[in-house]
Amino acid sequence: MPAALLIPAGLGLLFIVLPLAGLLIRAPWTTLPQRLTEPGALTALRLSVQTATLATALCLLLGVPLAWVLARVEFPGRRLVRALVTVPLVLPPVVGGVALLLVFGRRGLLGGWLDSTFGVTLPFTTTGVVLAEAFVAMPFLVIAVEGALRAADHRFEEAAATLGASRWTTFTHVTLPLVAPGLAAGAVLCWARALGEFGATITFAGNYPGRTQTMPLAVYLALETDLESAIVLSLVLLVVSVGILVALRDRWMTTA
């Protein structure tokens, strides 16, 4: 085995593992339980879980039909639509936040109208956090579900039709169960991305404890005032990430 490959490979691995190890080494293990149950940490954690879950629900509601259209309906410009859906994947999240402000902000394209007609204000609210997270996380769900739909044999849907099932019943009773594993994986991935969202959230929803301050925002803030608290919060996010990796290992690590 050539050293020219082995050495950079080893360095690469170290580069990934070392910071994670650092997090574990510097963790204040003795005061950990106490710090975890501090009101600030708990509030941020609860808000994060709630908003990530709501964002995932929103992504499922809108993203599954979008994935179905992309996978099953032939229409001109489908490639363009698919490309548009993946834009949030590569867009810097902070840009996404700015874009959301321009549309849903008080003086935004839709925000002004929402405010004057329904009295609904989105920026700098918990709903705003959900929107920002959904914006960034939706592509993960759409891509996963579209892939699952493409891989599923559409002739099962024909078989359902021959048995008298309407398009809708076929979708709910045949198509969705067939893509359930892909759907679950997409939802978990989407949830994980929403949980870690930072840039779009802080831009669009701000950083108000209890209302818009999610875990990543709390970590960033704690870094300036209380390093140990930041480490503890980071550890929690690390545990969640590893948990997701373990949950999905069968789907993504089968080559090992």
Binding site: A161, A165, L178
Partner: protein, 355 residues
């Protein structure tokens, strides 16, 4: 009309390929669409099911137009009174055998408990009570085929469609399943159309054969008439006969410029001559006497065929001959070898090519 539950002319254009198959099926009748791969059989079946729209023609079931492009008549698949057994069954993998069979009745508005009772009854009829709770992947090929049949029949369809119903089974299972399938098809009160490329399946299961080649019907009739009087090379090969078309003049049929076959039947005009490969005798030298047809041929190929040896011969007409291994050894049959071919007039069967 009671004598034609299904009345259809299936016209489907697919690029350069055009399917044009008229089809009429009476209640209780089983019709097999038999043809080589790519003949358009599956397209015909999909058109009947509404999974592929017609370009022209019509599908009329029980006097209702399901598809008639000329008038815009169209009934979507889910509202047709049909049942389909797909080639690879397409049992829903996330449902038990019971729920697969209950799926159709449920969609037809039957309440859950009653649908399950119907499904249980059907699984019983195909002998699968014990497998009711199994998932499709826990079923053997033969069991899956029976569940697929039960699922299609559980909605009491006017038209039952089967696409290569036995093709996915191994030889042993196929034999048992064929007999059982025949029993269920005979009991089905509606019309049945099955598609197959296997003549044995078609002969065993169907009352009438419709032979499709290149999108057209080339021959139609019950099993005995089709096997006795093939009209195309494809059918002749299916039933294992040598078949020639020529011009008849009394007892002679001119099948090639150099060869006129003497036949037992007497007829005039365009005619077919058919005879079995076993009726062909091979000789090292020109045989003397007896009213035989003889000509010189060249061995093109030699293959085992059951207990015998099948010899393909070139000459004025190409012919297949079945000889015993002993005779093959004695004649030292190798490709390129010249032999004399003889067929007795009484072994031939000649019939008009028209009508």
């Amino acid at each position: 009309m009671s004598d034609r539950l299904l009345d259809a002319r299936l016209v489907v254009d697919r690029g350069v390929f055009r399917l044009d198959v008229p089809l009429r099926v009476a209640p209780g009748e089983v019709v097999a669409l038999l043809g080589p791969n790519g003949a358009g059989k599956t397209t015909a079946l999909r058109a009947l099911a509404g999974l592929h729209p017609l370009t022209d023609g019509h599908v009329t079931l029980d006097d209702v137009d399901l598809d008639r492009p000329a008038t815009g008549g169209w009934v979507p698949t889910e509202r047709r009174s049909i049942g389909v057994v797909f080639q690879d069954y397409l049992l829903f993998p996330h449902l038990s055998a019971l729920d697969n069979v209950a799926f159709g009745p449920r969609q037809h508005g039957v309440e859950r408990r009653a649908a399950r009772a119907t499904a249980r009854d059907w699984l019983g009829r195909v002998g699968l009570d014990a497998q009711a709770q199994r998932r499709p992947r826990q079923l053997s090929g033969g069991q899956a085929q029976r569940v697929a049949l039960a699922r299609a029949l559980a909605v009491a369809p006017s038209l039952l469609l089967l696409d290569e119903p036995l093709a996915a089974l191994d030889a042993r299972t196929r034999l048992d399943t064929r007999a059982e399938l025949h029993r269920h098809l005979s009991a089905h009160a509606g019309a049945t159309v099955l598609v197959t490329h296997d003549p044995l399946d078609a002969l065993a299961l169907a009352d009438r054969l419709v032979i499709v080649e290149g999108g057209r019907v080339v021959q139609e009739g019950d099993g005995p008439s089709v096997t006795a009087r093939p009209r195309t090379d494809y059918v002749a090969r299916l039933v294992g006969l040598n078949l020639y078309r020529g011009h008849a003049d009394g007892h002679g049929v001119r099948v090639s410029p150099e060869l006129t076959l003497t036949v037992a039947d007497r007829l005039d005009g365009e005619a077919f001559v058919a005879f079995r490969p076993a009726a062909v005798a091979l000789h090292p030298a020109r045989p003397e006497g007896s009213p035989r047809n003889t000509w010189a041929g060249t061995v093109a190929g030699v293959q085992r065929h059951g207990d015998n040896v099948r010899v393909q011969l070139d000459g004025p007409i190409g012919v297949a001959a079945d000889v015993t291994p002993a005779a093959a050894a004695q004649l030292r049959l190798i490709p390129g070898q010249r032999v004399w071919v003889a067929v007795k007039a009484t072994e031939t069967h000649a019939y008009p090519a028209t009508g």
